[in-house]
Structures are given as structure tokens and as C-alpha cells.
Amino acid sequence: MAGIAIRTLLLGALLAGIGLVALTAGVADRSGPTASADAWPWQSIAWRFPRDAWPAGRSYRCPAARCGVQLDVHIRPKVGFCNCTTGVTDDEEVDRVSDLDLISAQFTPQGAGVAVGIAHLKGRARDYRLQRADGTVSHARGVALSRGCDLIVAVVEGSIGANEPALSDVLATAVTGWVRDSLDGRSR
């Protein structure tokens, strides 16, 4: 089931990628004051995690009122953290790099991951069951995409269910923003 859901993400992401030129206006435009609340369920929220090896990323929330359940997406680049030649080729790489441990060190894969692509980045995504420090269990998806030696990784908190299209939309937009700002060196 998880694999099927992720394939939906792949399709959605690729479709979103087709409209990438339109989306490159960037996350700020889509979540700023001019955004249409009806069309864009995501709101930017603060990056809540402590400083670690990588620069802080960006976080987005789709509240339960819009998505049926609350979904949080945390996304950031990890420059130079990928096999430059092979990219992200196996599920263990997703386990290793996709920031799941920002949320909990205890995560268990729910089946095999699948290949995904957003714009010209390719990688893999995998669903997980998370056990938090307070004992509660939740669901998450890890996504790792590469370009050359660089990664963009995302972790999605919450049960995605019917929200694959909305998730694809925010991932495509955010990935494009990070490619522009970080991998392409426009924020140096």
C-alpha cells in the first residue's frame, strides 16, 4: 500500500515538474500574502529542530482543516552528501539521509521505497512508522533527491492519505526553491 501511495507521489511530482517554470516563482510567493488560501493549503512554519551538521531548512504545514489531518513537511539541501556518480539508488540511503531522525531516532520502514523524480532531480522515497519518545506512533515519509554530489531531502510528518497531490505540489515548489537558492549558488 505504501508503495502505491508513493507511486502516486511520483506521478504527482512529475506532473508538478512539468509546470515547474510556473512554480519557480518560489515558495515565498505561494505562501505569502498574495497567495490564494483556496489553492494553496500549505503555510510556512518555523524550522523547529536544533542546529546540526546542515543548514536549517524550511517547514510547511497543511492544517487538519485543509488536509483532513495535519501534515508537516521539512525540507533542506545537504550539499556534498551524496555519491556523485550513482545518486540515491537504494532504500538504505533514504534511511540514512532523509532527516527522519530529526523527528525520532526510532523509525521502521513500511515496505520498500520507490524511485521518485522532481524536476530534474531523481531519488527515492520510502514510508516509515515512527515511534516517538513519548511512546506515540505516527507515520512519516522520507524523500531523498540528488543532483550530482548534492542532495535535497524531505521528511513528511503525518498520514498522507488522499493528500498526495497537495504533497507533490509543496515538494515540487520547495525543491525548486532550494535548487535555485542553494545548489545553483544564488544565495551565496
Partner: protein, 444 residues
């Protein structure tokens, strides 16, 4: 430091040199990265054919006139994906089951295998055996007396690309696997956070009974101190408990730094503490990070000295870096930061001088007689040549490239020569100390 001689190594990107005395000759073995996209397999002038980068064998008996003897091709592929980066040498007469007439070279073959060659005639090496089926390799360690090897490998079912496979290579023709090893959480079937993958180990052998493992390159570094005897004799099944059993302690570095080389310097008398009733002699580990991003696009990767006298409480007590402003190194192009130290424990420099490769800042000679206060006493930055490759960063979506020296690794020989090799294809430079630096090492 003064340049004595050089060789262009056929303009191949170089990773690790090892220098070995064979009779009255001194032979340098240099491991290479894969080729570049522009030149994936440089032409070997000796054969007239393109050959994927592998291992260069150079006679450095006369360091002023190095003679290129042979290139052994490596795995096809570019950069980290191909080549034969790592090389270690052991005499057959030192190994309990080796051919006394043989000189054995252990090398990686790209990411897919380890190989052992007989290089008794260094111009005509002979392949002895191969340990394959791996998803990656890196900087291994081979004890030349016991034959025990700690091979940095990627076992296909492990969750990291690089872990340890312990082998008995006392009979190099017949490798005997002892066990797989890594940090709990890296083993097959485990879940949750995956600890930082291995970079390389250094063993102090049966006498020291410790193996020091360095995990990470430029992030999430870990120094792991392992009881060698427990590692070799403990239960071999890679469960979390079995992996934890031989560990003595670990030192977690800042998330901003890795642990490329962890070089032990045990039982060092520290002059400042000479009159102290306790702690006058101390055990140290020199931890060298690896810079991996061009033009300072990462936290500074440098050198750290850990006092491990109390093994259960290892503590960083000092650090060293090249001063960026001394050469505007962040603007020179390529990587700036530490990469590796020499790993020879020959008496001429051991516990007195350490040599650190620092990419575009060349090689740095450190006085380490008091690891609480390491001091730079010399340096050398080779000149670029027509072969020196460019290094690029993205600016406004476009590649902005510069040509810069990228001193990758350094090694010393028992005569005191210092060998540095360049990642950006500039070749091998053989150096010697001059001035006050010679006095630090006790040289005339």
C-alpha cells in the same frame, strides 16, 4: 620545506601514497581516484593506451629523480566511483603464512573489490587474489606482522556504504574472513537512525590491543576506540549487542566535523606535565577531518588532538588549522581544509612531527611533541602545472571554475622524505624539511 623531486603521475588524480623499502630500493605506491569526465582514462605513455586510473608505482630511491615504473589500471569510472584509491604494503617475510620472497600490495579496486598483488618486482606486479562483491571500499589498514586486515568495505546488506570487514590476510593467497563490524544501527535488519559511516581504521596491533575507527568525512564525526582482542574473538553475528561488545569508548565530534584519519600517539611524555605526579605521560589520538566542498562552502575541517589517557572519557584538548587569511585560501579555488595525516609510525617523525595535507594550502608540518599545543613549523604548496585540473562552484546557476592545487594525502619514509600527492592531477612531490623544522624532528 623544500622540493626535492617530482613526478606527474601521468596526470592522474591521486589519493594515497605509501612508501616501502624493498632491498636497497625505495618504492612509492600511489592510489588514484577515477578519471575526470573530460579524461576518464588517461593515456599511459608506457603502453600508449588509455587506462582507467589505478595504482602508480614509482621508484623513489633517488628522490630527486623519481622513475615511473608501472601503472596498474583500476576500476573504470570517474572521480570517487572508479580508480584504486587506497594502497598498503606488507613484506611476505613478515607475514606468518606469506611467501617470504613476496612483497604484497593491498589495494582497492574502485568500490567493488579489494585486491592483493605481489610487487616483489615492482615493475611487473602479479595479481594474487581479489575480495569482491562490494558496494564501496575505502582506506583500509593491514597489520604487517599478524596479517589481520581491517578492510573498509560496503557489504551489500549493510545500511551504509562503508563498514569494516575483518580478514586474516596472513596468507594473502587465501583470505579468511573473520567478521563484519560497524556501529550498532548500521547492521543488516536494524531500524532507526543510521550512524555515520566509516572512513578508516588504524590498529596498534596485538601489543597495543586497540583499533581506532574514524567515522565521517566533514560531518558527524565519531572516534571509536575498540578492544582489538574482543573484536577478533567476539561473537561474529552482526547484532547490535555483538557490535557493541568490543567498543571501549567513543568520542562524538561536533556535527560540523568528520573523522577522516584517527592517528594514535600513545604514551607521550608531555613536558608541561613532567612534574605532575599523575598524568605526566598521556595517550593521544590526532583526528583529521576531511574538507569536501570547494571554496569554503562548509564549516572548517581541521585537526583535533584528543587526550584518550582516560579511555572512557576521551577529550579534545587542542586543534590546528591553517589561517585562511595567510593565503586567502577560501578564494583560491577548490577545497581548503584538512584531509589526512601521514600514517607512518617510523621513529624519525613519530610523536614529534605530523604532516597534514590541506588541499589548496598544500602540506603543513606540525610540531606535535606537546599535543596540547601543536605548532606549525613548515609548509609547502606545489605550483600548478598544465595538468592541474579545475575546481568549480555554482554561482548564479553557472559553473565558476578555478585551477588550484589540491594536496590530498601525505606520507613519509624512514629516510625522512615527505611525499605529497595532488587530487587535481598535479602529481607527486617529494619534500624534505629545512631550517628549524629539522631540529624538531632531531635531524641535522
Amino acid at each position: 620545506m623544500r622540493l626535492v623531486g617530482m613526478n606527474d603521475l601521468q596526470a592522474r588524480s591521486a589519493y594515497q601514497p605509501t612508501i616501502h623499502r624493498q632491498g636497497d630500493r625505495w618504492i612509492a605506491y600511489i592510489g588514484h581516484h577515477g578519471g575526470t569526465e573530460a579524461v576518464p582514462a588517461p593515456v599511459n605513455p608506457q603502453t600508449g593506451k588509455p587506462e582507467p586510473n589505478g595504482t602508480s608505482i614509482v621508484d623513489v630511491t633517488d628522490p630527486a629523480q623519481p622513475k615511473y615504473l608501472r601503472h596498474i589500471p583500476g576500476q573504470a569510472g570517474t572521480y570517487e566511483q572508479g580508480g584504486a584509491q587506497m594502497v598498503r604494503i606488507c613484506d611476505g617475510k613478515g607475514l606468518t603464512k606469506g611467501d617470504p620472497a613476496a612483497v604484497y600490495m593491498l589495494r582497492t579496486f574502485g568500490g567493488e573489490a579489494h585486491e592483493i598483488w605481489n610487487v616483489a618486482d615492482p615493475a611487473n606486479p602479479v595479481l594474487i587474489t581479489r575480495i569482491g562483491g562490494l558496494k564501496d571500499t575505502h582506506k583500509s589498514w593491514w597489520e604487517c606482522d599478524t596479517g589481520i586486515a581491517f578492510l573498509v568495505s560496503g557489504a551489500p546488506d549493510w545500511r551504509v556504504r562503508r563498514m569494516t570487514q575483518v580478514y586474516d590476510l596472513s596468507d594473502p593467497a587465501h583470505p579468511v574472513k573473520i567478521r563484519d563490524f560497524g556501529l550498532p544501527g548500521q547492521e543488516p535488519g536494524s531500524t532507526g537512525t543510521v550512524p555515520t559511516e566509516l572512513h578508516g581504521p588504524i590498529s596498534t596491533g596485538p601489543q597495543g590491543n586497540r583499533v581506532y575507527f574514524g567515522y565521517g568525512t566533514n560531518v558527524g564525526g565519531i572516534l571509536q576506540i575498540v578492544d582489538r582482542s574482543k573484536l577478533l574473538s567476539g561473537a561474529k553475528e552482526p547484532t547490535a549487542d555483538n557490535l557493541r561488545y568490543p567498543e571501549v569508548a567513543r568520542l562524538m565530534l561536533s556535527s560540523w566535523n568528520g573523522a577522516h584519519t584517527v592517528f594514535p600517539m600513545p604514551r607521550m611524555p608531555v613536558a608541561e606535565f613532567a612534574k605532575d605526579k599523575v598524568g605526566a605521560t598521556r595517550d593521544f589520538i590526532m583526528v583529521v577531518d576531511e574538507a569536501i566542498l570547494n571554496e569554503c562552502n562548509e564549516p572548517r575541517q581541521m585537526v583535533w588532538f584528543a587526550d584518550v589517557s582516560i579511555e572512557s572519557r576521551p577529550m579534545i584538548v587542542s586543534s590546528y588549522t591553517v589561517a585562511e587569511a595567510s593565503g586567502s585560501f577560501c578564494a583560491r579555488g577548490g577545497r581548503f581544509g584538512a584531509h589526512a595525516s601521514n600514517e607512518s609510525m617510523a621513529p624519525i617523525y613519530y610523536k614529534k612531527m605530523a604532516f597534514i595535507s590541506f588541499f589548496n594550502a598544500g602540506v603543513r608540518a606540525l610540531d606535535v611533541r606537546d599535543p596540547y599545543h601543536p605548532a606549525e613549523v613548515g609548509h609547502f604548496i606545489p605550483a600548478i602545472t598544465a595538468a592541474t585540473d579545475k575546481r568549480c562552484v555554482k554561482v548564479d546557476g553557472q559553473d565558476r571554475c578555478k585551477v588550484a592545487i589540491q594536496t590530498n594525502n601525505v606520507e613519509t619514509d624512514e629516510r625522512g622524505y615527505i611525499y605529497i600527492v595532488d587530487r587535481a592531477n598535479t602529481g607527486l612531490h617529494i619534500l624534505e624539511l629545512t631550517g628549524s623544522a629539522r631540529a624538531v624532528a632531531g635531524l641535522r
